[in-house]
Symmetry: C2
Subunit: 506 residues, 2 copies
């Protein structure tokens, strides 16, 4: 019996999945292992593979098979139908972008990423600017073509690549809700915290021991090291495919939390990837449901779970074991105060929950202007600094703490940043329901048991892959469409907590 | 002006080169970095990329272009002609092997390599046997098809992949020459050494410091870390492409020389790759001239250069610096005696120059029998042990020191082992001429200056790429075709040296 068109498509995507896995490894290696002089060579490799992937995906044979499989759709189950829909989506996106553009973008971003690293080290934006200019021009071309093909505004077309179905209008609405309450909430929280200042957590935390701590907690969380690794890179990230997940972080010998929380942020991504439906691993419907949901998983772990009193209860004995910390500053109440301290800081990945959305808004506003041409690349450092000055009342002195802090634009990822703010809102909405469904959650987390947490997430998020849309998934899991309401409830509850009850509970 | 057929071929091979580089990275990662549970996934990736590489290389368009370029060959220079010849060679090899076999072999070897690692750790040949059986069957099919297409005996066809133009007859002739003299020479050398026993070099050599020492010497040799790395793996190897060379070694905390010499063996390969003609880097004629020449470069460094009195003079201050070694056993004469000690040992990569060819002969004889079916896989451990017993008077007790010590067969590399013995003979023949052409060589090496050595090699070997055949290259560099004569002269001079002059010169 010969294979049906749908079955043939599954075979084609199995091969495409292998290409994607190879590409992921080439990128991981470039950021973690590759000698710095090899960027051009890697650029050629990425370009060759991405071009080939694109050629395979846009082949006339695929389009014919998609049409024939669609015609026999009544015979498919709901997973297969979802798979077919995601196949079409991938093909539609790919076919809108000519292969020459794909390959030029691959080469340009490979060069730009390496130059970004150098420029960041040297605090020299001028070094990076021509590369960003080149990437930006290519992304503009891509946005134009994608927008025409998908009948979306250019920037919406870019967002659609990362968070299917989300538009600029949704993001504007979310930022509008948040902007109404956040600035006041930040001020109130900071005033409250100023009345009960936390003792400083000074100390030296050898990187080798930080690594051990991170591995121990990742294991407790359920990260499988037989199918993954953790390494170090300039910018923490998660790469790879389920079954070979590569997580990175970066350590600061003066701050035990920075590397740990970055690692656990990435572990949130990794646990999502590991929880995707196993039997659909090499198919489109078995992938994550876009970056907004991805970021909801990483931010839930980093922000909601790890910056909580139960997690502090679990963490403290580990800190004592690995670093022999002691003294009143290492009491639970003080450590919790430290982890929830609100500050108008310069670095996004070090930001607290309250100021984080503003970091994203900055990038969101600036990348829209860069794309439209309203802002020139050479004006970026000043525009960045001005925004920080106006909204954070601090101004970056170096480019490392300014517009050279993130790799995203070097990687051509315009339209990605909003996912972080969407992710934070989704995380709060999911967690509100999770907490209601798992009453023992706090006790579990305080014992370092993550089964209740990830069990719920696997059932309601991870295990669904890309079967539902972002909104459908959220509706099914929480009974409600996405709004910023749960997020604001959560933040108010946490950051306006009565200081008296705070110290009693600690 | 449109591109000529030849120019179009160069473009095609540029893409193929990028695929080869990506494949090299996937393999390097599998041996050095990959989580152990990810072998199946990596197997799929390797299979997908190798299949695609094969499809691109065997496309009708390539054959048409090759024919058209051949027709305009009079307009090409000698490098371009060499390039065209190598393109044809690659195409001829590829077209003889159907794509399904390529992909099955890629999957089978990926699984077999991982199982080999486990089997080796567990000292359990039975675990590995079914995988070797599967690989062997596929290699047999390939040898059959290749032999038919190239009009060669099946085993000769496999050799031709690794060392173009070399046949079983050449190898048999070489082993015949060596067998006539080697056993006697080994006995005489061992008797001589027994009269002047070396003091043992006991001590603990922390791996972190060994790594530093290795990097320091690799840098002195000219290895460019901006375009390469050194890491650790079960079996030392060199992977990658010029511009991104990945070398590995393995360290033994009880033996400072084992990891160092393995690393310098691989550095010999790496220096060859780095010295290949830069402007032909992504073309067939810019590649190395097969594995016999490759191994001549690694063995020349490891055996001839590093196990010499001048190198010991350079090395000793470094050993004192890194490990604070002292005492009579760390005097030059004793260290040289240690590095040139002849022993009938069990491990090929730890073997001395005199017994090394016998290790190769063992593998050569056994792999011929495995391929022909004269030896069954299950009989391999005993056949191996019997050969060792007969020729070395020692019998492996574990499989780690027996037939599980090398990765080659797991990787499907049948026909590769003879390259080591050919390489040793070529190394001696090249070095005889090099020493005559560079009279200051010993003084340079004693100062840690490798410019004279690698300058000569770059001019006479590395810089020629694959422009000449193995024999042409050797004739041009030394004035003579390949024989075992220089090798035997070199070994007799070194190992039958008068003990009196030995201690005086030390």
């Amino acid at each position: 019996m010969s294979a049906t068109p749908y079955q043939q498509l599954e075979q084609e995507w199995k091969r495409l999945h292998a290409f994607r896995g190879a590409l992921a490894l080439l990128r991981w290696d470039a950021a973690v292992m590759m000698p710095k002089g090899s960027a051009d060579i890697r650029g050629e490799q990425l370009a060759a593979l991405e071009t080939e992937h694109h050629t395979l995906l846009t082949a006339p044979r695929i389009s014919r098979l998609l049409d024939r499989a669609q015609a026999s759709a009544p015979g498919l189950d709901e997973w297969q139908l979802g798979n077919l829909r995601e196949m079409r989506r991938q093909r539609d996106h790919a076919i809108a972008t000519p292969v020459t553009l794909v390959s030029r973008l691959a080469r340009a971003t490979a060069r730009a990423e390496v130059t970004w690293l150098e420029a960041r080290r040297a605090n020299d934006f001028a070094l990076f600017a021509p590369h960003l200019e080149e990437v930006l021009q290519l992304v503009r071309d891509k946005a134009q073509l994608l927008g025409q093909a998908l009948n979306l505004a250019p920037y919406d077309a870019l967002i659609d690549e990362f968070s299917p179905g989300v538009t600029m209008a949704d993001i504007d609405a979310m930022f509008k809700s948040l902007s109404r309450r956040l600035p006041g909430l930040i001020r109130e929280a900071m005033e409250l915290q100023a009345k009960h200042p936390a003792l400083p957590l000074a100390g030296k935390f050898p990187v080798a021991k930080q690594r051990q701590l991170v591995v121990e907690i990742m294991k407790a969380a359920g990260f499988r090291f037989e199918g993954g690794r953790i390494d170090e890179s300039e910018h923490p990230f998660t790469e790879g495919v389920p079954g070979d997940i590569r997580v990175t972080t970066r350590y600061d010998v003066d701050d035990v939390f920075s590397g740990l929380l970055a690692a656990l942020h990435e572990t949130g991504h990794a646990m999502y990837d590991l929880g995707l439906p196993r039997e659909w691993r090499d198919q489109p419907v078995g992938r994550d449901r876009g970056m907004a949901i991805e970021e909801s998983q990483s931010l839930m772990i980093e922000m909601i779970v790890c910056r909580s009193r139960p997690f502090v209860r679990y963490l403290l004995p580990l800190l004592r074991k690995h670093f022999a910390v002691s003294g009143p500053e290492w009491e639970p109440g003080n450590v919790y105060a430290h982890l929830t301290r609100v500050q108008r800081g310069l670095i996004r990945v070090d930001a607290d929950e309250l100021t984080y959305p503003l970091h994203i808004q900055l990038r969101y506003e600036l990348e829209k202007k860069l794309l439209s041409g309203a802002l020139a690349v050479r004006e970026l450092p000043d525009a960045w600094a001005d925004f920080m000055q106006a909204r954070f009342e601090v101004r970056p002195v170096t480019q490392q703490e300014g517009c050279l802090q993130d790799i995203h634009w070097a990687a051509g990822s315009f339209g990605y940043f909003p996912s972080y703010a969407l992710g934070a809102a989704i995380a709060a909405q999911l967690f509100e329901k999770l907490r209601a469904d798992v009453p023992a959650l706090d006790e579990q987390l305080a014992r370092g048991e993550f089964g209740g947490l990830f069990g719920w997430l696997r059932e309601h998020v991870h295990g669904l892959g890309a079967k539902l849309s972002t909104q459908e998934l959220l509706k099914l899991a929480t009974g409600k469409p996405l709004t910023a309401a749960a997020s604001l409830r959560y933040l108010e509850g946490k950051y306006l907590e009565d200081p008296a009850s705070r110290s009693a509970a600690a």
